[in-house]
Symmetry: C2
Subunit: 212 residues, 2 copies
DNA sequence: TTTGCACTGTTAAAGTAATAACAAACTATG
DNA sequence: CATAGTTTGTTATTACTTTAACAGTGCAAA
């Protein structure tokens, strides 16, 4: 897969590739070897055209009669979205949400793993949650450097989101996933993704109201 | 606010309105009475033009010299996105994520509140988490009907997502927020919003890798 | 062998969203 | 009272995303 090609893949396609891979892994585990675009589409909430278009963008060609080779496609998607050397992640804020994420990602992805949690609560520091050791935030700098952690998930209370993000950038984190409702600022070159559960719920509430 | 106008508001604008209101509430609590479009924009990650365009869509006019009246704008946004009679929400799956949401929404919105949690674990049933009572899923039908719950958040393990969604629809839920990585199907007329943490993290990992 | 079917791969069109451009309005100030 | 500065409200443009249309291909079956 050429570098220039990868640069042109739209954000939305990257997201769908992640979802395709998940669906494909399930099928692969069941022993299925080939799959049609409309089968992938049925698993996710999209159309077969969308699937074919996405696969076209990554330069994968299927078999006209049998569809796509599941194993090959999984490998190609992995080649695109995974870092061959692996990617280490840390969670900042080991509250309910931080622990939910720790549990969730436990042994899910070979190339992507949460290796540390941070908190300020002395009751949590020193403990381990679902295999993720919890450290004091004061030790973050050292541990991030030592482990080579490049990605940080922010799950601290909203009031501390901004300062946490600032620290992470200072400590060398290159990608931030902010789950607090407070938007944070990052300098150029740091990838930021924010998701706000309050907004999502209010959106659902709005459309439920409107549907009446 | 006219009904036809509301119908034409784009999804993205609805999401931003929720975020504007949050920012406005903070300013209002600080005693600020007027705010400029670029001030709102600075709080969120958007441009002043975007803010003005969104407010145009909902038909709100600001003061040319002082900007927007914070109180009035909060009221107007609330009139649009809130249900005047309130909206009750239930969480299905009181694991870490379910409890995180329960805690998070505790007393946050007057018109939108989580009133019940459901689980199958007998250790959880009968307990209360952050003010949200946990019931057995077998009692969901009755409680949903009795309380008039219209929105369900799915935080069960992915393997149970599909059947849970099916149950909710059967029990009269009109809007679903699915936080499992497993896509679910809902019939026409039921609003569905899905968010997948795995995809988000993989997306961050991809762009961190590419930035190197 | 040829006809029909069921796919894929690609280009074209439509729909949606964000950005830019700019006129109009108000106020403060000299 | 005129002028400069600042901000709003709206239209126009551009960019992005999805959906539609359709040609091309291989297989199966008559």
């Amino acid at each position: 897969m050429k570098q220039e090609l990868i640069k042109k893949i739209p954000h939305k396609t990257i997201e769908r590739l992640s979802q395709y891979r998940r669906a494909l892994l399930l099928c692969y585990d069941k022993g299925q070897t080939y799959i049609f675009s409309h089968e992938i589409a049925n698993i996710q909430h999209i159309t077969a055209v969308q699937v074919r278009r996405d696969l076209m963008l990554i330069g994968y060609s299927g078999n006209l009669r049998r569809g796509y080779n599941i194993k090959d496609l999984i490998d190609l998607i992995s080649e695109i979205i995974d870092n061959p050397d692996g990617q280490k992640v840390a969670v900042f804020g080991m509250g309910n949400l931080g622990r939910a994420l720790s549990k969730y990602f436990k042994d899910r992805r070979e190339k992507l793993s949460i290796v540390a949690g941070f908190d300020v609560n002395p009751d949590k520091v020193g403990k381990s949650y679902y295999g993720v050791p919890c450290f004091h935030i004061d030790d973050a700098k050292e541990i991030i450097a030592r482990e080579g952690i490049k990605i940080g998930i922010i799950t601290v209370p909203g009031a501390y989101a901004v300062e946490t993000a600032k620290l992470l950038v200072e400590y060398g984190i290159k990608g931030i996933l902010n789950y607090t409702p407070t938007p944070v600022e990052v300098p150029e070159g740091i990838f930021l993704e924010e998701y706000d559960m309050v907004t999502s719920l209010e959106k659902v509430a709005f459309y439920v109201k409107e549907a009446k």
